[in-house]
């Protein structure tokens, strides 16, 4: 055992301090790291006997489970996780054995700097996929877009040319109808939640809003199929309702949060002037929270304009330009899906163009929301 006196590091200081005893021999951190990297659980033994025993036991237990239950599917994933844990354990164990105070401090400082660089690297590397996706879509899509593209329907299969007019118009109509349904219900529901926060109905209703927000989009599509398509047939209306169900939670939550942030004195001032409740809400409270509610609405539109799954069995698609809402209607995301998976190159080209338009739409809506929130300084 090596006894070390911390106080002796200072110049001209008598050592009347208690000494700290470091257990065990010193291990090289680099060696521990490499050994664990190569040999996994067995490599941990170098740095720490106890750690090595624990990791080997875990490994054997895993192997036993896999053999007994035949879960060889997950063998590789578990092995990777166990390996990583071994490396971390070995690193920590070796680090704990550095004796010299100065070296130790220097090591920890370097470790901190290394960690920071690692974090920065990971955080920013994530921007790469996004940039690549955006660039590609823009590159491929921009070539497709011209006036003809926007005003004509797709050409028959195998033929070149055509455009996305039916999908463009379809998306606008479907989303428009969804908004008409979802916005009033959403805002009113949000008002109720913010005005009556303690009631049972508010609790359960809020719970349902959370549930609705988490329902997979395909399930919503199935439900509307049973409720509306089965009795009435495929139609744009059914698609709108499905999308409306997905819009509502977002509108409700943002309305509720915006209104909760308003000062209560506002409502009190209006009420004390003798204004009836419904006017207070509709003419005072809602206009004050207008910006927040508007951003919530725009965000929800941006979200559903790109949703495909709910439309798969409701609005279907339509090769012709149509404004008939009780018949199937094409939409941008649905068209992208159909054409992306088709074997014809011409249709792929159309899909790139459609993706570009859709992407620009979504980006614009998001930027618009950002501007509103920044100008009116709201929390969403």
């Amino acid at each position: 055992m090596i006894i070390m006196d911390i106080a002796n590091q200072l110049s001209r200081q008598p050592s009347n301090r208690q000494t700290v005893v470091y257990a065990g021999k010193e291990k090289s951190v680099l060696a521990a790291f490499l050994l664990a990297l190569i040999f996994g659980p067995l490599g941990v033994f170098y740095a720490s006997i106890r750690g090595g025993i624990i990791m080997t036991l875990i490994c054997l237990a895993n192997a036993a489970l896999i053999v007994l239950f035949g879960l060889n599917l997950f063998l590789e994933i578990i092995a990777v996780i166990v390996w990583i844990i071994c490396i971390v354990k070995a690193y920590n164990a070796a680090k704990a054995t550095i004796k010299d105070m100065d070296r130790r401090i220097k090591f920890r400082n370097n470790e901190s700097v290394l960690y920071k660089s690692f974090i920065i690297f990971l955080a920013f590397v994530i921007t790469l996929p996004l940039i690549i996706v955006l660039l590609y879509i823009i590159k491929q899509g921009v070539l497709q877009v011209n006036w003809h593209f926007l005003t004509h329907v797709p050409a028959p299969e195998g033929e070149k040319g055509g455009g996305i007019a039916n999908a463009l118009v379809g998306s606008l109509i479907i989303v428009g109808m969804s908004s008409v349904v979802a916005i009033p219900i959403g805002i009113l529901s949000g008002i109720y939640l913010s005005e009556n926060p303690g009631t049972k109905l508010a609790y359960y209703s809020g719970l349902c809003v959370d549930i609705l927000q988490g329902v997979p989009s395909i399930v919503v599509g199935i439900i509307i199929y049973f409720w509306i398509v089965k009795p009435f047939g495929f139609s744009a209306v059914s698609g709108s309702i499905a999308l409306a169900i997905m819009m509502m939670p977002i509108v409700i939550r943002s309305t509720e949060q915006t209104l909760l942030l308003l000062p209560p004195s506002l409502k009190e001032a209006a009420l004390s002037l003798g204004v009836p409740y419904h006017r207070v809400i509709l003419k005072v409270i809602v206009p004050c929270g207008f910006a927040g509610i508007l951003s919530g609405i725009i965000l929800s539109i941006a979200r559903i304009i790109g949703e495909t799954a709910p439309l798969l069995f409701t609005a279907l698609g339509n090769n012709y330009l149509s404004a008939n809402i009780v018949k199937p209607m094409e939409s941008l995301p649905h068209m992208i899906f159909t054409y992306a998976t088709s074997p014809y190159d011409d249709q792929h080209d159309l899909a790139w163009g459609a993706s570009f338009i859709l992407l620009m739409f979504v980006l614009l809506l998001n930027i618009f929301t950002k501007l509103i929130t920044r100008k009116w300084n709201i929390q969403l």
Binding site: I6, A7, Q9, L10, S11, R12, Q13, R17, Q18, V20, V21, Y22, A23, G24, N92, K95, A96, T97, M101, D102, R104, I105, K106, R108, N109
Partner: protein, 252 residues
């Protein structure tokens, strides 16, 4: 012959362009309790935080001048090392909520990834908690989390945590301002016992406290060290008119 533990010479500190500590020079001697007082915004807390180099953690904070621990300039040493030698107790007790009392006391060692024999750790825990006058109250619940402790007990736990690192100096930033009177007096009692082994520098808003516990007092005003003298002297016959005005309550 007393040894000078902490000395500052023409020390300055800024927050961005805001000159908060101006040309402070002071010599603090070993095993004494020094009170630092002054009105709000006079730079006393900033100066305190420069001593253990906590000041520079705030973005835009800078400092210049000489600040020494014994004969070593604090700003040339590694800050981690400085903080080993100069401990700090904060205004609101801040024990780590996810650690037990035992782990809180040795937190300084655990944070540095040190591995110690259990016997040594037990020893340190007992010694520190005893010096902080908390041992008898917690010795049967060492491995419970400290959430059941009162404010005064939590503060003494933080003191024990600082003591466990065996510093030379312990800095206190208004240590009792968040405590009730009984806890306050138990902590003040501690100051008296601690000074045999450590040097204490206590920033306080409470003049009576300064008068009660300290050997010497420093009076800061608008960033300058106006007066530094024996406590008895300063409170009965201050040399500077500003000190006089502060003590008599003309401004606070």
């Amino acid at each position: 012959m007393e040894h000078t533990v902490v000395s500052a010479s023409k020390f300055n500190a800024w927050f961005g362009d805001n000159h908060v500590v101006k040309d402070v020079s002071i010599k603090i001697e070993k095993n004494q309790v020094i009170a630092v007082m002054g009105p709000s915004g006079c730079g006393k807390t900033t100066f305190l935080r420069c001593i253990n180099r906590m000041h520079e953690l705030i973005p835009g904070a800078t400092a210049k001048g000489s600040l020494k621990l014994y004969d070593d300039d604090v700003y040339t040493m590694n800050p981690i090392y400085v903080r080993y030698k100069i401990g700090m107790v904060f205004q609101r007790p801040n024990p780590f909520p996810n650690l037990s009392i035992y782990d809180n006391v040795v937190a300084g060692y655990k944070l540095n990834g040190l591995k110690m024999d259990k016997a040594d750790m037990d020893n340190i825990v007992q010694k520190s908690l005893t010096s902080a006058a908390l041992w008898n109250e917690v010795k049967d619940s060492l491995h419970k989390k400290g959430t059941f402790l009162s404010g005064g007990q939590q503060q003494r736990l933080c003191i024990a945590r600082a003591i466990a690192m065996e510093p030379e100096v312990i800095l206190f930033d208004e240590p009792t301002s968040a405590l009730d009177p009984i806890s306050t007096s138990s902590v003040e009692q501690l100051f008296h016992e601690l000074k045999t082994n450590y040097t204490l520098i206590i920033v306080t808003h409470n003049m009576q406290q300064a008068a009660r516990v300290s050997d010497k007092t420093a009076f800061f005003y608008v960033g300058e060290l106006v007066e530094f003298d024996d406590t008895k002297q300063m409170f009965t016959a201050p040399k500077d008119v500003r000190t006089q005005n502060y003590i008599t309550g003309r401004f606070s």
